[in-house]
Symmetry: C3
Subunit: 135 residues, 3 copies
């Protein structure tokens, strides 16, 4: 079972909590045990899992990524000017997997799944694919 979310980002760097949408898809699927793949087919975006309770955690992640991989660098050669976004996307990765247990995402208490767009604002697709366990 596969569904595609469409997420509109609003800033150059946006981190969007997509956990509620993934939970809805999982619920509709009726799958109790299995695996959920969350995947973005975009070269300036990433998916990651981290704390969803305190938004300051996301600020600190964005701040550190920008410090390490600045938007401007005279050595960048890519003509579109968004090299930093490509680099962040390649390093963090464009998917995460979450086990499914008793019909729920097996996330920690404070965890959420995030779409990160590093060259927005844009509308982005997120593929959510659910693989039920096979008996």
């Amino acid at each position: 079972m596969k569904e595609i979310l469409r997420i509109r980002t609003t800033k150059r760097t946006s981190i969007v909590n997509i956990t509620p949408y993934i939970r809805e898809i999982l619920k509709r699927s009726g799958v109790r045990e299995g695996l959920c793949l969350v995947y973005v087919p975009h070269t300036t975006a990433s998916v990651f899992i981290n704390e969803g309770a305190d938004p300051d955690v996301l600020k600190d992640i964005v701040y550190t990524l920008e410090k390490l991989i600045p938007w401007e660098d005279p050595s960048y050669e890519h003509a579109e000017g968004n090299s930093a976004a490509h680099i962040k996307s390649a390093i963090i990765g464009n998917s995460r997997i979450v086990p499914i247990s008793e019909g729920n995402l097996l996330l920690g208490t404070w965890e959420s799944v995030f779409l990160a767009e590093f060259d927005g604002p844009r509308e982005r697709k997120v593929v959510v694919k659910i693989f039920p366990d096979v008996d």
Copy 2:
């Protein structure tokens, strides 16, 4: 098939070789071909695969992560003071997948699977889930 390891870490940053425990779980499962997911549901921890032969490799990984993402930074906003651990976890990722081939983990000769905790000491759960190939 799914099992949960409980790993007690001893320092702020601990890198624990969990390969022997994963091999035991795989053996008990009897699965010959498939996929093994190793997943931590914790926002200051990661899973990664790298050299398990020379512990100096792990020291150099820990050293470089600390150099790039220092524990203290006056710009961090998260009040708990462990932003560096969240950032490392988000970037490295909280799971790895290993193919299963002829009843073994398909790892290179010198490779091991590691749990990394960046805000210990703590007891952490690691989910090991095995997906057999379907004929």
Copy 3:
């Protein structure tokens, strides 16, 4: 279904577009819907997905990784002298997953799958494993 690619790299750091080989394997498999795992069992290599259209994007990724994780650092302890390659591999990760949809890799228009070797030249194995959806 599993196949192993053998890729010869030519420089210390080589980023090789392996998408055409993966597409061939997928075509031979006949799988229409499922998941494709691309995995390297090597501790100085990574797999990532990013732009395949403009080679300058890859140059900027390699440049930034080298800037952040330099080959030489007096604090490295690993005697083989290739710590930087291990660190890059551990952070970026040694696999990526691509959903399969209508018999094709579900990649964005400009996306490719890359093998990155950070301590070449070497011959490297890449495991491509295809998991069909189960009805």
